[in-house]
Symmetry: C2
């Protein structure tokens, strides 16, 4: 059998690649092993965000008395009902993508694909030749093999949302973005949560000052054991977790140690390109092409930027580069943006502080604990730091643990993408009273380290009063 | 007596003007009648936002059952405690600005100023000569004189937050931004609220499609009587309000018919400049100067853009133009931005749809009722419309009634201020799952009416893969 293009994997990257491929040809196969549809909708961002929404709504009762709302102490979270609600919402979001399979008919194949060279794929015992191959096999949660013996006392993000109820005590191993989000949500729903991590970080925060701001806030809600690998031992009906600062006996353990690209058994070694110790080839993020081959490795499977919006871009780029008449079409990647949906939210935009040479850097910060709208909400709020080029004033990056970080981060991402300076951003309107005024304070703080300007955020206008002179 | 500069009014515009004046001279007087400090902090944006925060927190109980949170039906709002909480927060915000008076000592005068010509001000029976005069006398709620007889049954935003308790039924007269915000907050706290307006609009919405989206949502919470002037008649202990669609008997009436510039009795007629029928001179928004005189009219007092952030800009501009050696320094004004803190929030950015010639306009929209994060929150969500130049793709304006409109509007305001095109904005990162993805959908909808592009949001890169070709 021979087709123009084979796509392996029907998640976000595979489906956006398919969209591009279909602009050129209907002679394709989409091969998928296991669940059809995006990781995000099924077990990733969507159910976790639904759980966080409920957890935060329930947590809000702690400000009720200060607000003058009575009866909050009688509220309780009905965990089986909460989980059923999360699944119901999730199933609504999943419905769309998974119907792709039915629509494609015989061009959709369920089975595990394996490369047999740059133009050959084997699936379900059959070898198929293809002019181009797009790999989008995704990732799966890391769970140490030694933990297999703990059976259903080990949860992952794949199984958590399928639970009918939750036990009283959960240890979350891995305090990255997913670990922190879920640990906090579970704690807010009334589960006792202990969080372990081999390293001393939280939620992927790169800036030590943001970490120092966030840590005491999250420590009020979960027991933190950071800085030593966790070890598990079975107890009567539970698991004893040993890590930094002592032991914790849990009823279940959530493995949140990251996700591993699904490249084992994929046959990348048959392509003739160099592979590193993990079996991963070198990735050109602007084409996703492997060497000079008509083979593309996209999405979580290449480990480059394992985020849904990046996976969509990578499927798009690979699909365009895989066209029969495509010259090499290197595409610019977007300004890096990462958001953690904790409370307060964490976000990083552009370059991390450690990536900017200190001699080039002008930094400013603002503590949102002082911000009026943040104070009104009664929610925890930490630090925002913004970095710009010391000479040009061009925004380079920011990191924050503040309310509505998801929104402030999108504003900053647009600013960085458009090569905006601190002064340009200060010329935009900041309404009152809004959280964005805290961003303005941080920008003014940066501006104090920049070459002096004429003392106004506003540009001078032409004589009509309606035209900028620039 | 003779000084360099007199500032009349110690609100937002007056205080930012003072900041600029002090860069040049310490020979000034600040004259203020009544309360010292900003309208916003004392009786405007701050207490209303605090009330809205509590009202929304209480209203959230309606999604609790669906979320799996039990006991929400027993929650109740303790109105006297809610009002006390609002005042406590408010008093914290007010503390700062009002201390200005003490710091200025004899240069701060309490009294009502009246112009006696372009260089003369009378206050407390004394005439003072000044090289420059900055007027920043603010505004006050409009209350028809005929309503004086209803006594304390008439509330305004000045008196509402001073109440110890609220009656069972309140009629809000005037459904502009302030009227809608407060009416909805009171309704969410359990007050029965009827909203009246002489016109058929709501919350200052300019786009009929946004109005059509918002109206049914707000109509679920307050009784709407739109399209005819309201008339009041006393009843036993209450007020009978007659308006469009019938009568409503209320225990109190909140006058929310807008605010009137405080220019009566100010002596503007002594300046020799032309005044319109309301007694208002022509305003140059880029200088705030009246004619060629050393007199400036700023902030709410000129009625141009009665918003806190605009008042701050106007004080700043006037202060700079009032300097002894100042050439004429016309300053560009910021992209217009207006936000109403209702649920869903309403915002308008840039040009209103009616201001953009139809032949020039490409429009797109997205209904946030379909947006995943909006659906997860269980909150009401309406329409976003975005307008661009049909030829260049440059963003011109947007209006919306959606959750987090305050944040989406800031993003769009930056985009418009920076002359960004629809394609530029689509090249920025949109995370997942976030409300900003709904904005992206609206932008893609606009793009369908624009000249075709090459089918990618991403620019092509140079051979290094890290440099844009543009």
């Amino acid at each position: 059998m021979k087709v123009d293009t084979i796509i392996v994997g029907a998640g976000t990257a595979g489906l956006t690649a398919l969209h591009e491929v279909r602009g050129n040809t209907e002679d394709f196969l989409l091969i998928n092993d296991g669940r059809w549809g995006t990781t995000c909708a099924a077990v990733g961002c969507m159910p976790s965000k639904a759980l966080i929404e409920v957890a935060n709504a329930f947590h809000r009762r702690h400000v009720f008395d200060e607000f003058g709302i009575r009866g909050g102490e009688a509220l309780r979270a009905d965990i089986p009902a909460v989980l059923a609600h999360v699944r119901k919402l999730r199933d609504g979001f999943v419905a769309g993508p998974s119907s792709t399979r039915e629509k494609l008919g015989r061009r959709a194949i369920s089975g595990r694909a394996r490369l047999k060279g740059p133009n050959r794929v084997e699936v379900n015992g059959e070898e198929i030749e293809a002019r181009a191959i797009i790999l989008a096999t995704g990732s799966r949660p890391v769970v140490p093999k030694a933990w297999a013996g703990f059976g259903d006392r080990i949860l992952t993000s794949d199984s958590l949302f399928e639970q009918k109820d939750l036990p009283r005590r959960i240890a979350v191993i891995g305090m990255g973005a997913i670990g922190v989000e879920i640990a906090q949500a579970l704690a807010r729903l009334g589960v006792e949560v202990a969080g372990f991590d081999a390293l001393d970080g939280l939620a992927g925060i790169s800036d030590p000052r943001i970490l120092a701001s966030f840590r005491p806030m999250i420590a009020r809600e979960i027991l933190l054991h950071l800085g030593a690998p966790a070890e598990l031992a079975a107890t009567q009906g539970g698991v004893l977790v040993s890590g930094a600062g002592g032991n914790y006996e849990a009823d279940a353990v959530l493995a949140a140690m990251g996700r591993r690209p699904n490249i084992d058994g994929l046959g990348l070694e048959t392509l003739g390109v160099a592979l590193d110790a993990r079996g991963m080839p070198e990735i050109d993020p602007t084409t996703l092409r492997l060497g000079d081959l008509p083979v593309f490795l996209t999405g979580d499977a290449n480990g480059y930027r394992p985020l849904m919006h990046e996976a969509a871009d990578e499927g798009h780029i690979a699909g365009r580069n895989a066209a029969p008449d495509a010259a090499n079409l290197p595409h610019c990647r977007r300004t890096p943006l990462a958001i953690v949906f904790s409370s307060p939210q964490i976000a990083r935009v552009g370059e991390a502080v450690s990536e900017i040479p200190e001699a080039r850097r002008a930094s400013g910060s603002f503590d949102f604990a002082k911000q009026p709208r943040a104070r009104m909400s009664g929610a925890a709020a930490g630090l925002l730091r913004v970095h710009a080029d010391r000479e040009t004033g061009m925004l380079l990056g920011a990191e924050m643990c503040i309310p509505a970080a998801e929104h402030i981060a999108h504003l900053l991402a647009l600013a960085i993408e458009r090569k905006t300076t601190v002064w340009d951003l200060l010329a935009a309107p900041f309404y009152h009273p809004v959280l964005e005024e805290g961003l303005r304070s941080a920008l003014r703080d940066v501006a104090r380290s920049l070459p002096a300007k004429d003392g106004s955020d506003l540009a001078l206008c032409g004589p009509t009063g309606h035209e900028a002179l620039d």
